[in-house]
């Protein structure tokens, strides 16, 4: 039956060679850093830890091994250009760079110093260490991205910002309100939980600018982007009764919008579940220091401080600010001292005073807290990043920091298990006066459009292949006809002096609405919408232009 088979012994090596071959399989049980859900997966890594293959970890409590597009592209994410240890652009040994950094930090006036870490790829231990490092330098300017949200809200309501809910609650809900969230785009692994809820008989209502094209909602409450219709939402409060409201909180959320969600929650019998874009957001809230009373500047205020020259030094940990906004990187170049500690080079790495190389997220030893409240182990063995921080601060060992983390999370001696939701949330009632929500959207002109960023895991990462995905905009059929677009045309999105060309997709949208899943080079804005103009981009083939 087998033996020499003349037809099939010729091995087509091209196919095999093209594959991402790995010589020795070292399997790491890892977590995807795309969003706060924290999907489990395996990475198979070769000895030099350069080639990585992804596998699905089917017994993962969070996601059953399933991953969204970001997760399936993790090998590309981890294949970006590695950071170097350098001082003033000159590559040095890590010890020297760390020593230099420590000295420079010591020489700074603490009011002129700032620490920023968006909790995307940092462990609980690193958060604890970073916060304690800032206090070692007596610096109160430390931001994990969300500080400003705590102001102006009652303390009793802060748990809604700090913690999420286990997905079992989503599956068991009888009514779910998707508040300007498209689960398939914003948090893909949430979608299947809502689908399961629907199978269990749940009703899904979406409050949004456009009907979800996948039809996940049974009912859509369309909000007109022209005036945000906040009054209308407020008046129709009964729809939120006995529901689970699912929304999102990002550094770009308009604080008034958060107030609106909290007020709806407070004045109805509902539960509010806010998802966040960064994996360890919950860890940051629980371990990043006292967000509520003392706080300190938030990310944008620190940037403003840099702009005004008040803040002269910045320690940036595992944060790609260009991923938040390319604008910010222009301001950062005004700093006198920029220390960047991360695994991959960013747009700022070339101008940073000191760059410190830490290990990739999957190599880190440590824990994170996902949006459900599960404490998950990152799966790696390296303490490099943590040791760099500690060597400038208290000098604790991993175990010491880990114990401190466990203590502060209230974990006691329980073994960390992904199957247990260790950080539970206690629903507290709070009072909130009806907010006068005024969300003025910078309107371009009467004929202008409204741009809605549909944030998603790719939105916050820049570099490598990540940007190529989702680089088109979605427009309405009306806009397509108005602009006289042909299939292979591009549109140009314009805001003042800035413009950018993009491909387009047509969807059932209100006439003036444009959706984008990746950032455009327009001015960053807080809130859901901004005003832009759109026109048909100049056609590439000049020869046919005169015929049109």
């Amino acid at each position: 039956m087998s033996g020499k088979n003349p037809h099939y012994t010729r091995l087509n090596l091209d196919g095999a060679q093209r594959r991402n071959r790995v010589k020795e399989m070292k399997v790491i049980s890892s977590i995807c850093p795309g969003c706060s859900i924290g999907c489990g997966l395996y990475l198979m890594v070769d000895r030099e830890e350069k080639k990585i293959k992804l596998l699905h970890r089917k017994n993962s409590a969070v996601n059953e091994g399933k991953l969204c597009t970001f997760g399936t592209h993790l090998p590309a994410y981890y294949g970006r250009e590695a950071q170097k240890n350098a001082v003033g652009g000159r590559e040095v040994e890590q010890k020297e760079a760390v020593k230099e950094a420590k000295e420079k930090l010591k020489g700074m006036n603490p009011d002129e110093l700032a620490f920023v870490a968006l909790p995307c790829t940092i462990t609980n231990e690193e958060i604890e260490s970073f916060a304690s490092l800032a206090s070692e330098f007596e610096c109160e300017n430390i931001s994990f991205g969300f500080e400003s949200f705590f102001r102006g809200i009652p303390e009793a309501a802060s748990y809604i910002i700090e913690k999420g809910l286990p997905f079992s609650e989503v599956e068991a809900a009888s009514k779910i309100i998707l508040f300007f969230i498209d689960p398939f785009v914003h948090y893909p692994l949430l979608a299947r939980r809502i689908l399961k809820a629907k199978k269990n008989g749940a009703k899904v209502i979406e409050v949004s600018f456009a009907r979800n094209e996948r039809g996940i909602a049974d009912e859509t409450v369309l909000v007109d982007p022209r005036d945000m219709e906040v009054e209308r939402i407020k008046e129709n409060r009964e729809m939120f009764e006995d529901s689970l409201i699912i929304g999102e909180l990002t550094p770009y959320t308009n604080p008034q919008f958060l107030l609106l969600m909290l007020w709806i929650n407070a004045s109805t019998s509902s539960k509010l579940f806010l998802l966040k874009p960064f994996l360890n957001s919950t860890g940051a809230f629980l371990l990043g220091g006292d967000f509520y009373t003392k706080r300190k500047k938030d990310l944008f205020e620190i940037i403003e401080g840099i702009e005004r020259g008040e803040i002269k030094a910045l320690y940036l940990l595992e944060t790609d600010l260009a991923g938040v906004s390319e604008e910010i990187t222009k301001t950062i170049s005004k700093l006198g001292l920029l220390i960047e500690q991360n695994a991959y080079r960013t747009a700022l790495s070339d101008i940073a005073t000191i760059t410190l190389r830490s290990e990739s997220f999957f190599m880190k030893k440590g824990t994170i807290v996902n949006i459900e409240g599960r404490v998950l182990e990152t799966g790696g063995e390296s303490e490099k990043g943590l040791r760099t921080l500690e060597s400038m601060g208290k000098g604790r060992s991993y175990d010491e920091v880990h114990e401190e983390v466990k203590k502060r999370l209230g974990l006691g001696s329980t073994k960390i298990s992904e199957f247990e939701v260790a950080i539970k949330r206690e629903e507290k009632s709070f009072e909130l006066a009806e907010p006068k929500v005024e969300m003025e959207i910078e309107r371009a002109e009467e004929e202008g459009y409204f741009l809605w960023y549909k944030t998603n895991p790719f939105f916050w990462s820049s570099g490598g292949d990540m940007g190529a995905i989702k680089n088109f905009v979605e427009i309405s059929p009306w806009a397509m006809r108005k602009l006289g677009l042909f299939r292979d045309d591009e549109v140009e999105i314009v805001q003042g002096e800035r413009k950018e060309k993009r491909g387009f997709k047509i969807s059932e949208l209100p006439p003036n609405l444009i959706l984008a899943e990746s950032k455009l080079s327009i001015k960053p804005f807080k809130g859901l919408l901004t005003g832009v103009e759109m026109r048909r981009a100049d056609i590439k083939n000049k020869k046919i232009e005169k015929f049109l």
Binding site: P477, W478, M480, R481, G484, E508, P511
Partner: protein
């Protein structure tokens, strides 16, 4: 930008893949012989019916074609010897696919038409147009409102 037809009137859009040597020549002949061919047909010329990747047919259906015609030389007469045999095979798969997907079988056709069979071409288009008018527009069509 092109005229749009009144809302209620729907004219079938039928896409025919014709091979250069036989069926396209046959379509040409139909024209030269002044045969009546409904204007519902749009022709794409390929060098051989064997060039028709099933993906083209699938894409045509997704683009909203109400019917897709795969045409070529008679079996045994293929200019490239036997490529039309492969066409026939692929058609069998496509037929099963279209049926399983839940589209009407009248949306996919396979006809061999030689260069001298202009009348067959015209007849085919008439037949297909009639059948398609009966079954209505393709459910894969995307009509944008407003």
């Amino acid at each position: 930008m092109g005229k749009r037809l009144a809302e209620n009137k729907w004219e079938p859009k039928i896409l025919a893949f014709c091979c250069n040597w036989c069926s396209y020549a046959g379509a040409d002949a139909a024209g030269m012989e002044r045969r009546q061919v409904p204007p519902t047909i749009r022709v794409i010329r390929v060098m051989c019916s064997g060039r028709i990747d099933p993906a083209f047919v699938l894409m045509a259906l997704l683009e909203g074609a109400d019917a897709v015609l795969v045409t070529g030389c008679h079996i045994g007469d293929c200019h490239y010897v036997n490529a039309n045999n492969k066409t026939r095979n692929r058609y069998e798969f496509l037929k099963e696919f279209v049926d399983e997907l839940g589209l009407e079988p009248e949306r996919l056709w396979l006809r061999w038409i030689s260069a001298s069979e202009g009348f067959l071409f015209a007849e085919m288009v008439r037949e297909v147009t009639e059948k398609v008018k009966e079954i209505g527009p393709s459910p894969l069509r995307r009509e944008w409102k407003k």
